[in-house]
Symmetry: C2
Subunit: 147 residues, 2 copies
DNA sequence: AACGTCAATAACTATACAGTAATATAGTCA
DNA sequence: TGACTATATTACTGTATAGTTATTGACGTT
């Protein structure tokens, strides 16, 4: 990717603060489950709106709107054929992003499982059932670093 | 990362649909400019709330709330020292994510620049100044695939 | 103990946005 | 030309959330 000498700024920490909203917008586009499902469907190849609507079991207007969001950010591209509008992935990087995140979540769940296991052998009490007093401002103190 | 035989699901397309909201939540945490700025600050090392508040020029309550979001998802970790609360990056993957996105945005901008350049040499007319008729439902037709 | 500082929370407001229903438009076919 | 289909858009509603202000609680110092 991009080996032609001039290299545009790449690292977040080298980024002009003005560019951050753009980065945020990118992530925001991926922050909706339905949009992720759409991208997931497109993984198998281009699909038109109708097909997506059927497979995702939601309204056509909703799918169209989400596709608009994804297209505006360049994640998908549109190609009209007759009255149908076919969409395809235009930027494979979304899968890299998703896979990175999925990996981290898996790790975190793994962590959780192991933590829970540490509680189980002794007795069958549900781990971490310490009831919070509601209505009181319970300031956190030193139970740090427990992910 | 994780080489112990059993491998948790990793790819988005192998993911249970029930897991998608978790992935979306991950991205959502990165979809706020201020949170990205916080992460950017933490790149230089742990900071307490006060320091972050000063450097980011926003309210302490707001910083605390955003740090709470980032901590809940495991992006940062908290460590109390006296009355101060120090936060540090707990998951370096955020920088991989951000760098990927920054790279794509740079590419997109590059693309834009080149597209614009194609319009310039002829005359000085501002490219793509085709005024949209407001109040009319302008259905898109065949100007596809232009990113 | 009394006070000051730091951080987290609660209550509130304003805004953004996902979803729906209705409608408009482009292309197709009779 | 007139249905018919597929898609995009509009107007609307409900919900989520960023930011603010005020408050609470924990810790440290005197």
């Amino acid at each position: 990717m991009r080996t032609d000498g001039r290299r545009l700024c790449k690292k977040l920490n080298q980024l002009d603060p003005l560019a951050l909203p753009h980065v945020a917008a990118y992530f925001q586009a991926l922050s909706e489950p339905l949009r992720l499902r759409i991208l997931n469907e497109l993984r198998s190849g281009p699909r038109n709106v109708n097909e997506l609507t059927a497979r995702l079991d939601c309204s056509q207007a909703n799918v169209s709107k989400h596709l608009g969001v994804l297209a505006r950010l360049g994640f998908v591209a549109r190609h009209a054929r007759g009255t149908a509008a076919y969409y395809r992935i235009a930027d494979e990087v979304v899968y890299d992003l998703c896979d990175l995140v999925c990996d981290r979540i898996a790790l975190r769940l793994q962590h959780h499982v192991e933590t829970l296991r540490a509680f189980r052998p002794k007795a069958e009490r549900p781990a971490r059932a310490a009831a919070r007093k509601p209505g009181k401002t319970a300031r956190r103190t030193a139970e740090d670093d427990l992910p």
